[in-house]
């Protein structure tokens, strides 16, 4: 029962973007289109899985005093390994996901899951936590991107859905649009949370 809870908590109850306000920088930067949001979400979930897995494996070996530099080392190495391997063996995938790699290294979501969860729990639970958080992060990005892409370009996943006569609200795909959208959605999520309590 606990395992299912660790998996589902990241999706809504502890959604990384809307509730915990983690990983906001990439959430602002790449939520201009749904396609980008899915790419970033998938790449971040993959790295999160890898880093949670490694850190839960070596947690007993790392002294508490120097845990943060150790986590950063592990995460940065893992991201670089993924980057180089993908670049060499899967060039088409690297072409579409490669631009998100530098944003993932500095994603505080990954470091915070290492610190708050993987360093205190076993491998199995850490993987579930990473999956749940990754899905929650992807879902949040897709929701933000849906609003921004429809308002800002009149499209959804690059398909025209609003009539051609619609004049795109350019502010929606510019950085201020990201703040507006995230602010409104955070408010909505908090309202829902209050009601549930």
């Amino acid at each position: 029962m606990k395992a299912i809870g660790e998996f589902t908590k990241g999706i809504i109850k502890e959604n990384p973007v809307f509730i915990m306000a983690l990983g906001l920088c990439p959430a602002l930067a790449v939520s201009t289109s749904v396609e980008n949001a899915i790419g970033m979400g998938a790449a971040a979930t993959f790295v999160l899985l890898g880093s949670n897995l490694i850190i839960s494996l070596i947690k007993n070996f790392i002294p508490a005093k120097i845990r943060i530099p150790c986590f950063i080392l592990v995460i940065a190495s893992f991201v670089t390994i993924v980057d180089m391997t993908m670049h060499a063996y899967l060039p088409p995938l690297h072409k579409s996901l490669g631009i998100f790699i530098p944003l993932i290294v500095v994603n505080c979501l990954i470091l915070s899951r290492a610190e708050a969860f993987a360093s205190k729990n076993g491998v199995g639970l850490s993987i579930l936590d990473a999956l749940g958080m990754g899905i929650g992060f992807t879902l949040a990005l897709v929701i933000i991107a849906t609003f921004r892409e429809i308002l800002g370009s009149g499209t959804f996943l690059n398909m025209q859905i609003l009539p051609q006569s619609y004049k795109p609200m350019i502010v929606a795909i510019l950085p201020p649009g990201a703040f507006f959208t995230i602010g409104l959605l955070m408010g909505l999520f908090n309202q829902l949370k209050k009601k549930n309590n």
């Binding site: 080392l73 670089t80 390994i81 180089m84 060499a88 631009i99 795909i173």
Partner: protein
């Protein structure tokens, strides 16, 4: 003393392990990545000058440094000549690089030039601009604006030119446009020489 030595030692071990893995992987993947990049550049050359045969591209090198060394690409290569199936010169391709919004990576464009010295097509081959804004420079919606334009006079609309800038990414648009123009102006003379040679 133990409080200092133990964490230091463990940090050292982790650093050594991760840098060993990274350096081994780097040396393994480097040749493959370079081969991939080379193939991508050859494909880009063909894409911006579709009339030319892929294998026909030959470098025009002022100093002749690269002659006989096919894998060597010095800066002295000005541009490439492309020939069609019949062996006739159909145009040139060159690379231009401009400083965009990313501090570390310049926006690199492959440009195809027809015999009338107008742009055939362009393709962005390297960039690290902001996803969703400047990164849109790779889409054909943007690159098609350059076709059939005179590269010696192109300008961004905000500077009084005819290239429509990407929404929210004037700096990227400017980097692409100005680098194409400036690079063209530097190599124009040598391109004309090649044209005269072909006419003889």
């Amino acid at each position: 003393m133990k409080n200092i030595l133990k964490p230091t030692g463990i940090l050292l071990i982790i650093c050594v392990i991760s840098s060993t893995i990274l350096s081994v992987l780097y040396s393994r993947t480097k040749p493959i990545i370079e081969a991939n990049n080379k193939a991508a550049i050859e494909a880009a050359r063909k894409a911006v000058l579709p009339d030319a045969v892929k294998e026909s591209f030959t470098a025009v090198d002022v100093n002749n440094i690269a002659s006989g060394q096919p894998d060597f690409e010095p800066d002295s290569i000005l541009f490439y000549k492309g020939y069609n199936q019949a062996g006739e010169l159909v145009g040139f391709t060159y690379k231009s690089a401009g400083q965009g919004y990313s501090s570390s990576t310049k926006v690199v464009t492959m440009v195809g030039i027809n015999l009338d010295l107008k742009i055939d097509k362009i393709k962005i081959i390297k960039q690290q601009e902001t996803p969703g804004l400047g990164a849109n420079c790779t889409s054909t919606d943007f690159t098609q604006h350059f076709s059939h334009k005179d590269p010696s006079t192109i300008k961004v609309d905000k500077d009084g030119g005819e290239i429509k800038s990407i929404t929210g990414a004037t700096i990227t648009t400017r980097a692409v446009t100005n680098s194409i123009r400036d690079e063209f102006l530097t190599i124009k003379k040598d391109m004309m020489k090649q044209l005269d040679k072909g006419a003889e």
